[in-house]
Symmetry: C2
Subunit: 192 residues, 2 copies
């Protein structure tokens, strides 16, 4: 795991257009949400999220009230959505099965907190991509724990072009992203 994490860590990241984050989030990967409020940071796993708009770049996310991260995000109105790959599989599972009320997840999981550019929440360096988010609309937070975030800054590793992502199916089972197929020639330009 350490070796894999280091490999991921060394991949240089480039700025990425926020209007294109669907490229990474629409296929439904499990993501790591990092947050900070006052002196506390935390990380949680998330699989209940959907792209909602290109510009502004909106992502709707269910963050259950039972998560230690809920209050950090509710109070700071910010978070970072980080995209892990299979190099971090066991760390993803560990993060999803521990509570930030009990452990410091960055330290216990050997992850590196990097300063973000636009928000106070930290980036997770070992992830393939980091999307800095500000709360855009909390109209459905009370009823469904549903936060609509705007991605205000995106960082993506230059390679690989198609990272091997984890897609949760419940019951401890993940689907790993598979082969890539293009049907570009069959699309109308406005439909891409």
């Amino acid at each position: 795991m350490t070796r894999n994490a280091r490999t991921t860590r060394s991949a240089p990241k480039r700025d990425f257009p926020v209007g294109d984050v669907r490229r990474y989030l629409e296929p439904g990967p499990i993501v790591l949400v990092s947050s900070r409020w006052k002196d506390e940071t935390n990380i949680m796993t998330m699989g209940w999220h959907a792209v909602m708009e290109f510009m502004p770049s909106l992502v709707g996310c269910v963050i259950a009230g039972g998560n230690h991260s809920f209050d950090l995000i509710r109070n700071s109105r910010e978070c970072v959505i980080n995209l892990p790959t299979t190099a971090l599989t066991d760390i993803v599972v560990r993060i999803g099965n521990t509570s930030g009320a009990e452990i410091d997840k960055f330290r216990e999981c050997g992850l590196t907190a990097e300063e973000a550019r636009e928000v106070g929440a930290p980036l997770i360096r070992e992830c393939h991509a980091n999307f800095e988010c500000r709360l855009h609309d909390d109209a459905l937070v009370e009823r469904y724990n549903f936060f609509i975030f705007e991605v205000v800054k995106a960082h993506v590793a230059a390679s690989p072009k198609h990272p091997e992502t984890l897609h949760y199916t419940g019951d401890g089972v993940f689907m790993v992203s598979g082969r890539i197929i293009s049907r570009r020639s069959q699309f109308r330009p406005g439909m891409l």
Copy 2:
């Protein structure tokens, strides 16, 4: 395509617990949304959706106002979310690149409309799974075209256990679902 469609068509479906639909929807597959209003039916592709709750079984979906399906769903307050596999790749692309205002998608794509059990919208027989949905909350429809549906009845093919699904990444490119890995032994029971 016809042969594959027939293969899919012949797979018997069983009732499936509505509280477990995350099994199929959480990994982010592109889905086909079928709808009916008065004498008109239609099908659209959808990739902007998220599981929101187990029970009631809620799924949040962005259905842009430009879609011919929008009014059918807005008026009927129902739809069916159908899960296609790679056997239907070219049909999925065709459905996403044509408008129900111009063609009858069931007929033109050779798909079979089956009566649903709980809603008026038709099931697509050739899909691996069909989730009958009723509109649960339209609070964010005006602002974001965001519909929250309750899955009221689910039908899933008995095999394969892990269908080969399509996950859209924009630009005419799909990721196909890959290998399955389990980390069940590392999960706390309440976290599965």
